[in-house]
């Protein structure tokens, strides 16, 4: 069922919506999901949608975007109604296990894919039935709803999302590609809740591709929880390609166990208002985490990356690199919190945030933070804001390279530092190509994997 809501006063109306529709929200949803709703709602009611008065959301006031007339689909049928999916999101030379989610709901049109060795990819609704022990154990355990109102809101409203389970000792041959499509004839509000469990000694790579295919306003609040067990290797690439009317709050919460190695990469290529929350908790010794991000923004786009790396145990390493190129009136923000807890000796934590401002009206706010309670640690952070280096430009110009070409070359070199961290070769090539096109201003005639290019679709980059 589709519910149309007009939101003016945020808390009241969302609370009312929750109370009025509770039966529908709960119908068909797993017990554990329903069990957390009331508590989450209580937290959300108290905190509300964060404005820039909340320190963690200082540079992104979400309130205006969650107001207005929005449709919320409370069942899978409603979410898929009038939506035909001709969408393809393919990376050349890369075979993936491909599943679709439409408006936050796991698509029933997904083909039955035969996964090897007991790997499960399904809707969380199915997962709760088929694998209750795994689901009950991890759902809602990683994402902290007490400290973040948006997680609380998601926990209260979430009905569906993707579930990935990789059993012990399985190394998946191909990446799993989850394509999130926002579609419909009306403006929409969507919630999505993913759960990924990577068991001991197993390895998996996940691509989250976010797209919008109709020219409506979309407001998305998604939360992904990842549990990486001992010796596991987990990669997630979040490729965000949405039009300018989109507001997305994407949460990625990772819990690491001994010797696990994780990588998250938020690639914001095109968006409206994007807020990425990445939180990594290293809950055992010898964990390694790589947290990367690249944001290329123009027009009035806004990208805010908020990261929190929690070194809870000794002997862990973290590497963080975020780079942004801001054109036109785009605004960017970065917050990188690194917490080294009391006994987390022998911690190595590196963090860096670099920004290029291309025009007079582009702006950026950067807030790297270190909070350290142990003494035998090596931590550093750096942040820069600047323009292309005049000397480098001169060097290239002196060698007969045109000004435009020099600029593109330098910008690309700047961005490539993040692209090269991608551990899936064909994807790296694809992103490389996309970024280069983006810098050349050829974005409007792009491939199938971007906002406007798919065959037969008239949506333009708004």
């Amino acid at each position: 069922m589709n519910i149309a809501c007009r939101v003016v006063n945020l808390q009241e109306e969302y609370t009312k919506l929750f109370k009025d529709q509770k039966a529908l929200l709960e119908s068909g949803a797993p017990n554990k999901v329903n069990a957390l709703r009331d508590k989450a709602m209580a937290i959300f009611e108290e905190k509300g949608i964060p404005s820039n008065k909340v320190e963690d959301y200082k540079y992104t006031n979400l309130q205006p975007y969650f107001k207005g007339s929005l449709n919320l689909s409370l069942s899978s049928e409603a979410a898929h109604a009038n939506v035909t999916n001709h969408f393809h999101c393919e990376v050349p030379q890369l075979e993936t296990y491909n599943v679709f989610l439409v408006n936050g709901w796991y698509s029933e049109q997904n083909e039955k894919i035969a996964f090897p060795d007991g790997v499960v990819v399904s809707s969380i609704r199915t997962a709760a039935k088929d694998h209750p022990e795994v689901f009950e154990k991890h759902y809602g355990e990683v994402a902290p709803m007490e400290s973040d109102a948006m997680v609380a809101m998601n926990t209260a409203f979430a009905q569906d999302g993707a579930f990935i389970y990789v059993p012990k000792g399985v190394v998946l041959d191909k990446p799993i590609q989850i394509v999130n499509i926002m579609n419909g004839e009306t403006d929409r509000l969507a919630f999505q809740r993913n759960l990924i469990v990577v068991e001991e000694n197993s390895q998996v790579k996940v691509m989250l591709c976010d797209h919008t295919v109709s020219p409506n306003k979309f407001v998305i609040n998604s939360v992904s929880e990842v549990y990486a067990a001992e010796n596991s290797v987990f990669d997630v690439y979040n490729i965000q390609n949405q039009h300018n009317l989109t507001t997305q709050v994407a949460g990625m919460y990772v819990h690491q166990k001994k010797h696990s190695n994780i990588l998250t990469n938020s690639l914001t290529l095109h968006s409206g208002i994007t807020r990425n929350n990445v939180r990594v908790t290293m809950d055992d010794e010898h964990c390694e985490s790589h947290v990367y991000g690249l944001y290329l923004s123009d027009k009035n786009q806004h990208v805010d990356n908020f990261t929190f790396i929690d070194h809870a145990k000794p002997n862990c390493e973290s590497f963080e690199l975020y780079k942004g190129v801001l054109d036109d009136s785009a605004t960017g923000a970065f917050t990188g919190k690194v917490l080294v807890q009391k006994d987390a000796q022998k911690t190595n934590a590196y963090q860096s945030n670099n920004n290029l401002l291309l025009t007079e009206s582009a702006r950026v706010n950067s807030k790297p933070q270190l909070e350290i309670y142990a003494d035998d640690v090596k931590c550093s952070h750096g942040a820069t804001v600047g323009q292309l280096d005049d000397e480098a430009m001169f060097y290239l110009r002196a060698r007969g390279i045109s000004e435009t070409e020099s600029r593109i070359l330098l910008m690309f070199a700047f961005a490539y530092e993040v692209i090269e961290k991608i551990r899936v070769e064909p994807l790296k090539e694809q992103i490389r190509g996309l970024v280069e096109k983006r810098f050349r201003g050829e974005f409007d005639k792009c491939d199938s994997c971007v906002v406007c290019g798919q065959a037969g679709n008239t949506v333009s980059c708004l």
Partner: protein, 482 residues
């Protein structure tokens, strides 16, 4: 080995506070507590003009609407403002001629602190304004300075004698409602120094204010105002100490600096308020608002601070770079030991074209202390070609302490070049080993390494201060080699 090191560390950082004595000086105080009447009493005691009283009352009324800030990385127990004496002054004896003017007890106090009040014996060439508890007791070298047209006196005197100047600049950099403690200070400030350097004058000597909290249960609220007119230069020093007491005492000060075209002001602080004992009992709560405005083109302000004292430090000397080509610099060493907490840093606000700022902050934490750097670099829309470089390093001595950095970079202009770097580390075993191998004790090695680490900042201090600062560092760190 590690245990030995810890022992030496403990010895090195466990030094005693040597300024903890208390002098018996006849004091005149007003009853405890804060109310509009108290504000009026303070104003009346100082025989202030009507506009001054208005200024205070406005601030007091505004203060009442505010709440204590809680955003700093500090754990501050609630302050009972009704339990504080807001005015304490040494009782004046009948005025005598020339140099016997000052109470011998006071002179003795300042002698103990190593502050030369007695002009005739002074070779140091530093003009001193000594502030005890709330009142400026003596300003030296006044006449010499007056010849050049420099005004250096207590702010109460300035209010009487140069009301126009004070009226024009007081509260122009830190308005009365700026923040909680600034509002409190504006309401009850008792004294401080006033400096005016006329056009084209280069102040021939270092100006210095020495602050001392002496009386029990009092808060100290001083206010310093420095105005440097076109093409002038002044270097200003500030030092502070307090007796050892079991209860916490409050210190909330304001420093305002105005620099006109091509003027340069150098402001150096060695802050050594009583930090509390080993268990964190007692000590000064130090809430200070310091701000400079580079009004004229090509003006320059330089803050240098060595923060070793206070139980709680909350202090962000800032520069508003309004004039084109103006320069702001901030050099800081903050050392915390035992249960001390420091949340300090700077704000560089670039408004004019081609403005530059430099931040060098060195934190050293030992014992169970928490040491934070918090800084803002803001480049406004019209600040073309602004340039900033910040470096914030932390050194951890011991595994119980914390070191934190909270930089904020807000850039709205694409011609800006802003860089921030921070590192956190401890003294490497290899470094100690290297020194040991060359016959140095571990204690000396740590001293050497720490001194080398803070050298960049200490080098910015005037000679006499640099020596004092280095000694202070050694005392503060005594007993914490790790």
């Amino acid at each position: 080995m590690a245990e030995d090191q810890n022992k030496i560390l403990d010895e090195v950082t466990g030094g005693e506070y040597k300024y903890g004595f208390h002098s018996d000086i006849d004091m005149e105080t007003i009853p405890k507590g804060l109310s509009e009447d108290v504000v009026r009493i303070i104003s009346a005691k100082k025989n202030e003009p009507e506009w001054m009283l208005e200024f205070r009352l406005k601030a007091y009324r505004h203060w009442q609407t505010m709440t204590t800030p809680d955003w700093a990385h500090l754990n501050i127990p609630e302050i009972d403002f009704q339990d504080i004496i807001f005015y304490a002054a040494p009782k004046k004896k009948p005025e005598l001629e020339s140099m016997d003017e000052v109470d011998p007890d006071l002179v003795a106090t300042f002698e103990k602190l190593g502050i030369p009040l007695d002009e005739q014996k002074v070779l140091a060439g530093v003009a001193v304004d000594a502030v005890i508890d709330s009142v400026s007791v003596k300003t030296t070298y006044k006449e010499t300075l007056a010849e050049k047209g420099i005004i250096f006196c207590s702010i109460s005197e300035a209010i009487q004698e140069f009301p126009d100047l004070v009226k024009k600049y007081l509260g122009s950099v830190v308005p009365h409602g700026d923040n909680y403690f600034a509002a409190l200070n504006a309401a009850v400030f008792s004294d401080g120094s006033f400096v005016y350097i006329p056009k084209g004058v280069r102040c021939p000597m270092e100006l210095s204010t020495y602050f001392r909290i002496n009386a029990i249960n009092t808060g100290q609220f001083e206010r310093t105002l420095i105005v440097a007119d076109d093409d002038s230069y002044v270097s200003y020093l500030e030092g502070c100490t307090a007796p050892m007491r079991d209860e916490n005492q409050l210190h909330a000060a304001i420093v305002e600096i105005v620099t006109m075209e091509r003027a340069e002001v150098k402001y150096s602080t060695v802050q050594n308020w009583y930090p509390g004992d080993k268990d964190g009992k007692g000590g000064i709560f130090n809430f200070v608002t310091k701000r400079a405005i580079c009004k004229g083109d090509y003006s320059k302000v330089m803050w240098t601070q060595v923060e070793t004292g206070s139980a709680v430090t909350w202090k962000y000397p800032s520069c508003v770079l309004q004039g084109d080509h103006s320069v702001g610099e901030f050099y800081s060493v903050a050392v915390t030991n035992n249960h001390q907490q420091a949340d300090t840093g700077t704000k560089m606000i670039h408004l004019g074209k081609n403005t530059r700022s430099l931040i060098v902050s060195k934190g050293v934490s030992a014992g169970k202390s928490q040491n934070s750097y918090r800084g803002l670099v803001k480049v406004a829309k019209k600040a073309e070609n602004a340039r900033n470089f910040s470096q914030c390093d932390s050194l951890l001595l011991g595994d119980q302490c914390g070191a934190h950095t909270f930089p904020y970079l807000e850039i709205v202009n694409n011609t800006a070049k802003v860089e921030h770097e921070a590192t956190t580390s401890k003294i490497g075993e290899d470094q100690i080993f290297y020194c040991n191998q060359r016959g140095m004790s571990t204690e000396d090695a740590v001293g050497l390494i720490v001194n080398g680490y803070v050298k960049e900042v200490i080098n910015q201090l005037p000679m006499e201060f640099a020596v004092e600062a280095q000694k202070l560092l050694q005392i503060s760190l005594e007993g914490s080699v790790g």
